[in-house]
Symmetry: none
Subunit: 143 residues, 4 copies
């Protein structure tokens, strides 16, 4: 009777990623919300930079959730549904689903170990913050 | 004073249909969520295959619900609302309504006895899994 | 592969029961809300008498739902949970559960075919209205 | 940078546990709802036996959720909160928290790999069904 073996993001790793996302946001001169969830979509760490929009607190968390809940970055959703009018009209009503950029699954050895969501800047800026944070993974992989 | 007589899916039949949907999913090399509801839309059986997307747990159940709640497969909804801009804009906000493929009413002798919803693959793949499960009905009808 | 056979309340029978509940309410000089649901808990008929309290619209429907969802009259819930402090503290938070009188399963040949809920009078009065309506069943049984 | 390593219940193991819970319910002559969730509280498998109460569909799932969400069986909650009037009054409003028996964490090597919830019988009966299902774990441990 098989049991699945999963790697899951630790609090230490999550905090490190948030730090890196913040550094990128400061470099871009923006204030954002950053959320990290585990592979079950539950919040591990969160940080709202001074003056980051309140509206984006939930969006950042929903982006991280969406990323782990389907295993792809949120910016890949729109091209996917754009081909099917039915999906485009319907699936956007799914609770917590975000179909625009700024959410990424955090992967290690091909496995989703968590998710990151950034919200508060432009879609482009939010993605840059996520990508900066994801580079922390390289250090984990090298060990 | 008339009373209505309804046939309703049994737990045994629901479990058998889930098994068949899983077999099809394995054949297609995908991992999906499968939900079976009774004619009142209440969950009878559910199974999430290993690594099937979490996002699709609710979608599969909502597809099954939509199927019994209106008596048509979910992929028939979009062509229906596409003709009316008002419907297309408005009715998609209906709670639990899914307007894309992967949900089918389970019918016996022309009566809706339950519903099946599959989610996790492409729309096409989800439908194939449902259709494989629905073939179990033929055995019921032959008896 | 078994299929279940269920009797379900018809619209005609539901309307007849509402008429009887109203007659009883008029006799008691009260104004109530009366809800009839099918065996899946879905509303079949509803009537709010002039000046019946708005607060009781949902309560009447929840009473009818509770009755079919567990198969016992709502006034039997409190004696049941009163013996167990854990149940008494916890189960009352269940969505739509009503643990006071005024909801009854509608049974035919031992099967739950629907539910009735009345709200707007005292617990005692609500129950009397339900019981007056349930007498309609005798006519159905005699046929 | 540490990553956590988690064992998680598989679909195969979940289905096996549901089968065992059903066998126990049949032995007890009751009809119940059985829900198995993974360590993130997401549904893996569910089965409602014929004529099991609809009210208990959500309760069984919430019991399984509560079990993984705090790591203790649901029947241990009431003695815990009974000592503190504030907790007893307040914490029961927590979304999805069940403070009565019938939910257990599924543990392997001291780790919570999922949760089981049974609802539809008495608290005692629901617990017996869970415990029968949990015996499947012994086979996993022996391998």
């Amino acid at each position: 009777m098989s049991v699945l073996h999963k790697k899951v993001i630790s609090n230490e790793l999550a905090e490190k990623m948030i730090m890196k996302a913040k550094e990128k946001a400061e470099e871009l001169n923006i204030a954002v919300n950053i959320a990290i969830v585990d592979n079950g979509g539950h919040l591990v760490a969160f940080s709202r930079m001074d003056d980051a929009p309140i509206l984006s607190i939930d969006i950042s968390q929903n982006k991280a959730y969406t990323a782990i809940a389907f295993g792809i970055p949120t910016h890949e959703w729109y091209p996917l549904i754009d081909k099917s009018p039915a999906l485009k009209t319907g699936i956007v009503h799914t609770s917590r689903l975000v179909v625009f950029g700024g959410g990424y699954p955090i992967k290690l050895d091909g496995q989703v170990i968590g998710g990151i969501g950034v919200s508060g800047g432009s879609e482009e800026e939010d993605r840059l913050c996520c990508e900066a944070a994801l580079k922390v993974l390289n250090h984990v992989l090298q060990k």
